[in-house]
């Protein structure tokens, strides 16, 4: 198994606020092992937390569901994916309730890709250049 496979992160938790702190710990550990700077680790932790918080607040309005967090390293960058199986919800307008989290994610990541919300939930992928 390569070093990269050892560094990968793949965790699924119930979409509940009590899990946020543990998820931040895992992202920090992943970034440290990948050799990220303290400034970059701070940005990754902030972005991952907001993406997970968005799932908790918006993805499952009526009943709970899974929150999936993945992180992996590719050449010259670290990647984090946060996804859910939730129902489609309206995308918050910038600056509106909920919009500030997405603005923060865009501010601290080098690149962000969003798929959904759709029939199979939402997938948010964040990239950080090493």
């Amino acid at each position: 198994m390569s070093k990269d496979q050892f560094s990968d992160l793949d965790v699924t938790v119930p979409a509940e606020p009590e899990y946020l702190q543990q998820l931040r710990r895992l992202v920090r550990l992943f970034a440290q092992r990948a050799g990220a700077s303290e400034a970059m680790i701070a940005d990754m932790v902030l972005a991952a937390n907001e993406a997970c918080a968005n799932v908790i607040v918006h993805a499952y309005p009526e009943q709970g569901g899974p929150l999936k967090l993945r992180a992996w390293e590719t050449e010259n960058r670290l990647n984090i994916e946060v996804s859910d199986n939730g129902t489609p919800v309206a995308k918050p307008a910038p600056g509106a309730e909920g919009g500030r989290g997405l603005e923060l994610i865009r501010s601290v990541c080098d690149d962000v890709q969003i798929e959904g919300p759709g029939e199979y939930g939402t997938r948010l992928e964040m990239h950080f250049a090493l």
Binding site: Q21, R25, V45, L104, S107, V108
Partner: protein, 119 residues
């Protein structure tokens, strides 16, 4: 695990609410409750995040809302943010609208002065 904790101190008729540990969506209701009680008490408020290990946008929003509530009652909410840290980065990228001061005494003085001006 670093549990969120609060310390409250009154200095020169200003309530200084210190946030210790990590604060996020899981305990933001506690921050809202505390700011609501302080607003009811009629004191200007300094929220000390200088040693806060983490806070997220939900907490930031609660501070902004707390500031609006206090201002409506003629009182100010000032954030004392101290040295650079994770919280500093959050304030830089998403903290517009908060009145942040880097020195504790200056933050307390400012909260008191602005409350006198606004009342």
């Amino acid at each position: 695990m670093v549990r969120p904790a609060f310390e409250l101190e009154y200095v020169d008729d200003v309530a200084v609410l210190r946030l210790l540990g990590e604060h996020d969506l899981a305990n933001v209701h506690e921050i809202r409750e505390r700011l609501g009680l302080l607003a009811d008490g009629g004191f200007p408020v300094v929220v000390d995040v200088s040693e806060t290990e983490f806070m997220d946008v939900a907490v930031l929003r609660a501070l902004l809302e707390g500031g609006v509530t206090l201002r409506a009652r003629g009182r100010a909410l000032v954030v004392y943010n101290g040295t650079p840290c994770l919280v500093q980065r959050l304030l830089e990228v998403a903290g517009s609208g908060l009145d942040c001061v880097g020195d504790r005494q200056s933050a307390i003085r400012r909260a008191g002065q602005r409350s006198r001006t606004e009342s």
